[in-house]
């Protein structure tokens, strides 16, 4: 659920206590603590946990220019190394020597809609030259669609011409660096790092990968998808269009020949959510790959945002919050410290319960429970339907409670009738959400059944892998 949905649940929790409502009517605003307590789990995770969490691998496909805070970063040739392979940079320098100019044919594999591969052959124009920026020189290569753009931008490339070239770093056959003209990083680097993390997690127990997003000038983002594919034992990454922070695609699709990155994984792994991970605006995700037992076999399981839905999202934390609130407000002499503590605890518990309606689940009662209890999969956290239904229900509760605790009642009808009149939109919303969730739950269930009988697991067993 979204933050405000949790927050408003805390606001509503406070109104169930007549003493607190009485205080509010007198202008004593302390009960707002209950709302802060309800939002507290996300506040801790997103304002602290996210930044303090461990990162074993940090994938930054397009490092930011430190002054402008967007990519590509303007670098010197001498700063680049093999570690920067597939990353997106800009280099400013002078054309030193034209090494090749011509046309030819290029073959590359593309992924069809059905997931199969297809080999495409195209004719292309190209240019290869060396660029010197005063700190060193690098080979620059432009071909295919990128060559067309490059020529449009700079005209005919000749020795002595100054250029600001964008592209991704790659390696020549002899291991030397080259810059391939492009408007995006190559996805292969992302795929290879994730595959390596999965393999290491299988051996070592856990690897956490931070994937940064790609921010471009004009507050737009290059969207890309990461799709670990267990049946095929591979990680696929697809470079997508340029999008606004609001998710509207504004063109800028990359050519097919540098759209996909595929890396094979040599160990079994499963993905707990059926859709690929999409990365565009705001910040990129963290994914933990953890060794786990699944149907008696050792596999690597993914966990999205490993710093999220931990201890902060447990019922235990709710009790701690209640005790702290009680102790503090009793200490400062607040008359209704007990009611406030209960409202704060219930507010935090409502947060845990509301998140449990989604996918991620939470570790509900640590230290008694050690692992996450899977969510009920009623809807995604961003679902407008479940968010609205919950928030509206809380508004209904607030109005209902304000009315109950006021004498004479401003709305002079029975409690049951008033609640029914206020809450019907939420009842309908939840009904639709439950009906819609059946399809997704079935899809996930089928996926898990499929993993159970995955041939790839059996093949590994035959060769003694598992």
């Amino acid at each position: 659920m979204r933050g405000f949905t949790h927050y408003i649940s805390g606001l509503a929790a406070a109104t169930f206590f007549g003493a607190l409502v009485g205080d509010l009517r007198l202008g004593i605003l302390i009960p707002v603590i209950a709302a802060a307590a309800a939002y507290f789990p996300d506040f801790v995770d997103f304002k602290f946990g996210k930044f303090l969490a461990r990162r074993d691998y940090e994938i930054d496909p397009a490092p930011w220019d430190e002054k402008k805070h967007y990519a590509p970063k303007l670098v010197k040739v001498s700063e680049l190394s093999e570690k920067n392979r597939y990353q997106f940079f800009a280099i400013e320098g002078m054309v030193e020597e034209i090494l090749a100019r011509g046309s030819g044919k290029v073959s590359y594999k593309v992924l069809r809609e059905d997931g199969g591969e297809e080999t495409v052959t195209e004719t292309y124009n190209s240019i290869v030259f060396t660029l010197n920026d005063g700190t060193g020189k690098i080979t620059v290569e432009a071909f295919g669609d990128d060559y067309e753009f490059f020529e449009e931008e700079f005209g005919r490339i000749e020795g002595g011409k100054r250029l600001l070239v964008f592209g991704y770093v790659d390696l020549e056959e002899d291991g030397s660096l080259k810059l391939v003209v492009s408007d995006a990083p190559h996805p292969q680097g992302i795929a290879e790092t994730i595959a390596r993390a999965i393999e290491e997690a299988y051996r070592e127990g856990e690897r956490i990968v931070k994937i940064h997003n790609i921010r471009l000038p004009g507050d737009v983002y290059r969207r890309f998808w990461v799709h670990p594919d267990p049946p095929k034992r591979e990680v696929r990454v697809e470079m997508g269009p340029i999008v606004t922070p609001g998710g509207v695609a504004i063109g800028g699709d990359v050519p097919e020949y540098r759209k996909y990155g595929v890396a094979k994984v040599s160990v079994p792994f499963i993905k707990t959510y059926p859709k690929p991970t999409r990365i565009d605006s705001f910040s990129g995700p963290e994914i933990a790959f953890r060794r786990a037992e699944f149907k008696g076999k050792t596999v690597v399981k993914d966990r999205f945002l490993p710093w999220h839905h931990g201890f902060s999202h447990s019922l235990t934390m709710g009790m701690i919050i209640g005790l702290v609130v009680f102790a503090f407000f009793r200490l400062i002499g607040y008359e209704h410290a007990t009611e406030l503590a209960l409202a704060s605890m219930i507010g935090q518990w409502l947060h845990v319960f509301e998140d449990q309606l989604g996918f991620m689940g939470s570790n509900l009662l640590p230290p008694l429970t050690k692992d996450v209890v899977p969510g009920f999969k009623l809807g995604e956290s961003g679902s407008g339907l479940t968010n609205f239904s919950t928030a509206w229900l809380m508004i209904a509760f607030m109005i209902w409670n304000f009315n109950r605790f006021t004498d004479p009642r401003p709305i002079p009808i029975s409690d049951a009738k008033l609640l029914l009149l206020l809450a019907w939109p939420s009842v309908i919303g939840f009904g639709i959400a439950i009906a819609k969730s059946f399809r997704l739950r079935k899809e996930i269930s089928e996926l898990m059944d499929y993993y159970t009988n995955l041939e790839a697991f059996e093949e590994m067993e035959e060769v003694g892998g598992i």
């Binding site: 405000f4 509010l24 709302a35 930054d60 931070k210 507050d219 606004t244």
Partner: protein, 440 residues
């Protein structure tokens, strides 16, 4: 009530007046109306009973036509501000006219919501709900403020080299927001509770402060960033879906209604709440919901002045009008709804054709030059309304508005200028704070 013919004439005069000034960046209909009343008075120019209808025409026009200034004349280079508004992004992509059309879709939806609500829902539902919840307005207000702070999304921090650096980068922005809120609040408290501004400016004492926070600071950003004037495509084409339109309209209506009914809660705060409640995403949805939100917030709030069973005074225009004449009959309420429909139709056409005209000739006058003219005009308005001390308030509030941009935080934190003094007053602590600041 004035005769129908007079009512129509004065409503049309309001629409024309509102349309002619609302496209200019930094101008706000409330300020201009206050200036009009201050300079010319009302009783002599028009019958006092006609003033509410003149005002409603002007406010409807503002709710529609101000889309032009927010789309075409508030651009900023991406190096000057970290996060651009969706309308600015559309402009930078040459799709300013499309942004205006999306806004107009929302504005029309907002008008329909408002008119249907005013006819069938508000008279029955609003009075009891308002009566049950109004004693707790301070609770809602402080809750929204606390949520604004708690939910600030750190835009930086991800790329720090160490956990400590990441935490600092994230919190630098959050702390900057808190600072902006409290500085605004301090300024607002002084402006509201001292005789810094002349008593003759009773109705307009907040005007220079708000011009500084939201108008002048924006205009200065235009001048400083010197944005490129990109060619605009004037095609009548929008990219959205029916689902997005309906969802955005619903969210916008919800946010606009909250802001219209409850005092101090502004359109931006209402949009924040409703956006979270309905989990909105997408630039098209954002712009559409802005159209709905602004119509309901501005026009809806003013319409409550006409609602016989409730007669709430919401917004500066309503306070200004009610000080001269408050509508009393149900006939006036129905007439106001009719004026809203008529004004919306005229404003829609005016906005549409003006947008086409500006899109076709966008790079004729550079926004930087226009911004200089507007900056001077805003200074003149502030001076005329509040005198030399008003200019001092304008200077300070402009600096605070620019701080919000520099800290990369929500500009709505500047609403601290209104919220903080009101909260202090509502909780009965004005005297204590006056003493604390050495002001009394």
């Amino acid at each position: 009530m004035v005769p129908l013919s007079d009512l129509l004439i004065w409503s049309l005069a309001g629409v024309i007046f509102g349309s002619l000034i609302s496209w200019i960046p930094g101008f706000h209909i409330f300020n201009i109306m206050a200036l009009l009343v201050a300079v010319f008075g009302v009783g002599e120019l028009m019958p006092v009973q006609a003033f509410p209808f003149f005002a409603i025409g002007a406010i409807v026009a503002y709710a529609y036509v101000s889309a032009i200034s927010s789309v075409y004349f508030s651009v900023a280079d991406e190096s000057a501000v970290f996060l651009l508004f969706p309308t600015q992004r559309y402009l930078l992509l040459g799709r300013g006219h499309e942004a205006v059309l999306l806004y107009l879709i929302g504005a029309v939806a907002g008008t329909l919501f408002l008119v249907l609500g005013a006819l069938f829902i508000f008279p029955r539902v609003l009075p009891p709900i308002y009566q049950a919840t109004s004693p707790y307005i301070t609770y809602f207000l402080v809750a929204i403020v606390v949520f604004m702070f708690m939910s600030e999304w750190p835009k930086e921090g991800d790329r720090g080299r160490t956990p400590g650096e990441r935490l600092w980068l994230a919190w630098r922005q959050i702390l900057g927001g808190i600072l902006v809120f409290f500085l605004s609040g301090l300024l607002g408290f002084i402006v509201m509770n001292t005789n810094l501004l002349p008593t003759t400016s009773a109705y307009t004492r907040l005007t220079p402060m708000f011009i500084g926070f939201f108008g002048m600071s924006w205009v200065l950003l235009n001048i400083l960033s010197n944005p490129p004037m990109l060619e605009q495509v004037p095609d009548d084409r929008v990219e959205s879906s029916l689902y997005n339109t309906l969802k955005a309209s619903f969210g916008g209506a919800l946010g606009g209604t909250i802001a219209a009914v409850y005092p101090i809660i502004t359109g931006g705060m209402g949009a924040l709440v409703a956006g979270h409640m309905t989990s909105q995403r997408g630039d098209d949805a954002f712009i559409i919901s802005q159209g709905v939100n602004r119509v309901i917030y501005y026009v809806g709030a003013f319409t409550l002045l006409f609602l016989p069973q409730l007669r709430l005074t919401r917004g500066a225009a309503a306070w200004l009008v009610s000080s001269i004449y408050t509508p009393k009959s149900y006939a006036e309420y129905l007439a106001a709804i009719g004026v809203i429909l008529l004004s919306a139709g005229i404003s829609f056409l005016f906005t549409y054709y003006l947008s086409r005209f500006i899109a076709n000739s966008f790079n004729v006058v550079h926004i930087k030059k226009l911004s200089y003219v507007v900056a001077v005009t805003l200074v003149v308005i502030s001076y005329l309304l509040t005198g030399p001390m008003g200019l001092a308030v304008l200077f300070v509030s402009t600096a605070i508005g620019l701080m919000a941009a520099a800290f990369n935080t929500r500009r709505s934190y500047c609403l601290g200028g209104l919220i903080l003094p009101v909260l202090i007053s509502m909780t009965g602590h004005t005297g204590y704070f006056m003493h604390l600041l050495g002001l009394g």
